[in-house]
Homo-oligomer: 339 residues x 4
């Protein structure tokens, strides 16, 4: 940590910073320049609050030198981590496309969806039994029985299932229903108690980025899970909030190369929630794969216009199949293949 002092700083103010650092168990290296005095703090800054230093008189600014994240950082683990989901690898050379409906509706709907997911060549399936909805007056998901329908439909095609956990009290139920991958949604990225709980198990977790979370905050949210012992974490960018009103969220495609540099964990993209319209999904999907994503989380519905939620963003089975062909071509160009 580097403490930059104000221009006309008193010796006593410098001494107070040194004393504070000492109390924090850190050493201090004072460098008196012509324009500014700068103090380098020596020791593990991860446990330190920079605010405690910024509160001292004469301090202009405090700059971190180390990354605040540790277990999830590329610095601590240079090789790419590969997450194994019942034999299917996420994060290696092979790109995985996870497809399925926004929400579990009925057994026939899930059966039909699973059939189309498998037919398109996807190896994992998504679907929500519990839905975070802006309005308390709209469909909230079919609940626990949705997990049954989902497993029944997916197991016929040996598709591991990915579904969202919103309430920490439902974790045991998720484990009983053998959910293969637990999704933590954008609204819960900093629900720290939930993160701590999924950190205690070994089920792979897809951690979606918060609505306006910085990449650093997102990595720190993952660090909460990792610090508990669960290192099976997959980052999922799903668009962030912006001033643009034409589409729902702004897909942050730059987050892909940035995360691949900062963390060893896999990175996937949800193009459906990003744009919010089915016609945008193919372009965003191709962009994500071309930029280096390890996979996609795509909404597909047997009959989109009849979907119980987000009807306008689901692909048809046919559209998914066509898209898979394009993605396969792009994967090849960059030396990868499709799952």
């Amino acid at each position: 940590m580097i403490i930059i002092m104000k221009s006309h700083v008193a010796d006593s103010e410098i001494a107070a910073v040194e004393k504070k650092l000492q109390a924090m168990g850190m050493g201090a290296n004072v460098s008196r320049g012509i324009e500014r005095t700068v103090i380098g703090a020596i020791g593990d800054e991860r446990k330190m609050d920079k605010e405690a230093l910024e509160a001292l008189p004469g301090v202009e600014n405090v700059v971190r030198v180390m990354k605040p994240y540790k277990i999830v950082s590329r610095e601590s683990h240079a090789e790419d981590s590969i997450i194994d989901v019942r034999g299917i690898k996420i994060g290696g050379k092979t790109i995985q496309i996870i497809a399925g409906p926004c929400s579990v509706e009925t057994q026939p709907q899930m059966d039909s969806a699973a059939q189309s997911v498998a037919a398109a060549g996807c190896r994992l399936m998504r679907g929500g039994a519990f839905k975070p909805r802006s309005s308390p007056y709209t469909f909230q998901g079919v609940g626990v029985e949705g997990l049954d329908m989902f497993q029944k439909a997916a197991s016929k095609h040996k598709l591991p299932i990915v579904t969202e956990l919103m309430d920490v009290r439902m974790l045991d139920t998720f484990l009983e229903h053998k959910v293969d991958v637990i999704q933590i949604g954008t609204r819960n990225m900093q629900n720290f108690d939930l993160l701590k709980e999924v950190g205690r198990i070994q089920t792979p977790v897809i951690l979606k980025r918060g609505m306006s979370a910085t990449i650093s905050e997102w990595l720190m949210a993952a660090e909460y899970i990792a610090a508990g012992g669960n290192h099976n974490i997959i980052f999922c960018e799903r668009g962030v909030r912006s001033f643009e009103t034409y589409y729902r969220n702004m897909l942050d495609v730059t987050a892909i190369p940035v995360l691949k540099r900062e963390t060893h964990l896999p990175v996937i993209i949800d193009p459906s929630h990003a744009g919010g319209k089915a016609w945008m999904v193919p372009a965003l999907s191709r962009a994500a794969i071309a930029a280096g994503a390890d996979g996609l989380l795509i909404e597909m519905h047997p009959t989109p216009a009849e979907a119980w939620c987000d009807a306008d963003q689901a692909l048809t089975p046919q559209e998914l199949m066509t898209l898979m062909g394009e993605l396969r071509g792009i994967a090849q160009v960059i030396g990868r293949d499709l799952g």
Copy 2:
């Protein structure tokens, strides 16, 4: 709801919209213009997903006509609601300043803080026993025993206590410790299961705005609480995420007149988390009161530089006292008084 069709729309597409509306239990009023055909949907649009209509071929855009929120809306309840916290009124003519430290640390710290809060003329006290921290490696709050310390310190001065609930499983503990006002933090504004639970009790709830929540989403989050039966809701604006890096969050002062127009519920401001620096707090506090806020949630610490978290944003007891004088003056100018 108004459905705007694309410019060269087919009759069959118009018919399909009418049929879909019918299936949703709504009537349809088709208006064929020269440039565009527009369909008005007749009925209660609050339970409708506009996405289901936007997914239909030929639909350009769907515009809501009614507010999506109901119980919390000014339309449904014209008079200002006043929330009663052990005899102290929030939302009426009297402005309430809620002050106290960021986090509960020790009994002497809380005793000293409570003493200063009361001496400054504030009638409620804040303090966190559970802290949502970006890093798993920093101080996470003292936990349940913090509630004891808090109550002990506050009760000497008859100050009702305000503290944050992060984990739905702690609600009973909060009730046992007779927490007077439950704060739902910015990271949990759309933790819908938590909202539903605090909707089942009658304890007043301060609902902080999400990091980048629109005012409409915020009102809908409150509607989740209200729909459960708890109408004792206080909105708290605490700054939103922006591109500016000079300070922590951008205080959305415009949200004050907007909320006073849209809802009958009280609106308070947290100037400490907005700016993130103690020296910004007086200016932001005065602005909030001048703009019509019903109260403030301010951080004050007996010795800010020694605070265990957010040391740089707490006022000293003396600074709080001085600020109270200015706020009293402004309250008077706009026909109000200070609690």
Copy 3:
């Protein structure tokens, strides 16, 4: 235009809206619903200010039905427009990569750069003689003589030149120096007098998106140029302002499919100014082409570390050549080729 009235609207208020519309030369179609009265305005809404209607008592909201842009809209011209720059086509099946240094520095630097641009297979060259810099104390560009150096270097390889016009008073100089494509920078996207002037000539214009311009504002800025008679407009997305601090701007990759839907004009991407770091450029470039961009504007410098500005974002000649190979592969997958 649709005028949505407040819930308890008076007949006189409805009549006043009708009268106002009449004064504006529009017809009115009043539709009295149970919850709301809605008035449809009949006529050309493009010349109308919706504010004039929103100012009337009893009006809740005014919604546009037509697109505010006309000449540049896909609605008015269904086919893709192809811009011809000395025989090189932008906007058709062939993707064009425009490369070159951030700024013109010296004749040898430009000669070397032109050589590398041509060797990589790019068919147009970029370079700035006038630079918009945040600080008045840093390098502002070499000025007019830079145009000479640029033309001299580029002409050896028959590369048309692309360079930024900042000051309306320099337009004649640009024409005298036979600048092939005039770039309007992000800070001047709404410099309406400059837009009007380049609208009077026929030189192709690259119109960069403003720092936080909505897609609609951007299309309207192009409409200023088009309304003057110059339809040779190329849109260039270069990243927008966001809350993320890891990189310089957030590349809005979704803008590509959106613009391809809304306008017939070509769309290119500047991955260098978006990320702001050379190591991000390949991933962003691949994403842009995969998403359907018609070209790229890339910074390349013979020796990046010695560049006079933006040294950290320029590719080396070798990196550009490698990237071109990848882009060629992706172009092929989506049925296009590289210029």
Copy 4:
């Protein structure tokens, strides 16, 4: 400037940074820590591009130690600067309210407006003869003759006039018409050629903040004017772009205390363009004055509903008069008075 090196840095990389600094005329102070090597650059960093250092291998991050702005900074001039506009002081103890219509329309409209501005107790008048409009198809201002109408109306009441300059070629005309204060609009904040030109004269300049300009970029834009010799600069915050759609722009009230700390120049607020609705203006105006603004720029129209632009945001003469009373009260509370 502080150069933070990557964790496993080579000696040759450190040496290259030292060499680069030397070439830039700076000294270097290398500090080898356990986790990181940090290099302090010694000398005037204002003329340096940090990108030139960030481009070097082994460099993780470069942090500025000095403020990039100089003449406009509080560091260089501790006392508040007071701008004199024909005897009326902006920036001192007295707060100035500048009122008037969005645009100059007709002589009677301006006469009536001037009369109301003076009657309300305001001492300067605003009005636009040239209007920056998003659409080329809407009213663009009455042009030069508007300056005549404006002067004629204002001079009867000895009101200095404030009007926007969009085109650098109109500067002489503005000087001939004795415009008292030149306004640089939000879209031109980084029109550097325009800034340089108004830097060459002594007419006071109101510099509006760019749509999404950081405070630092805004201060640097002012530095462009100041570096030319014109130190008569007034900052005007007018709301910034955000994700919120309820109102037009988000008023950044925090910018007031921040600017008062960073610069000695006056700071005013435009509450009309911020919210975009007349009913929001009183609350925002009171907030701005309470937060420490030196003045306001308010839209008032004799008959708002008939205004030729921004009809929904203008106050009536009566509303302005009422507001002035409230502002006077708040000014008094914070030890100031109204002009």
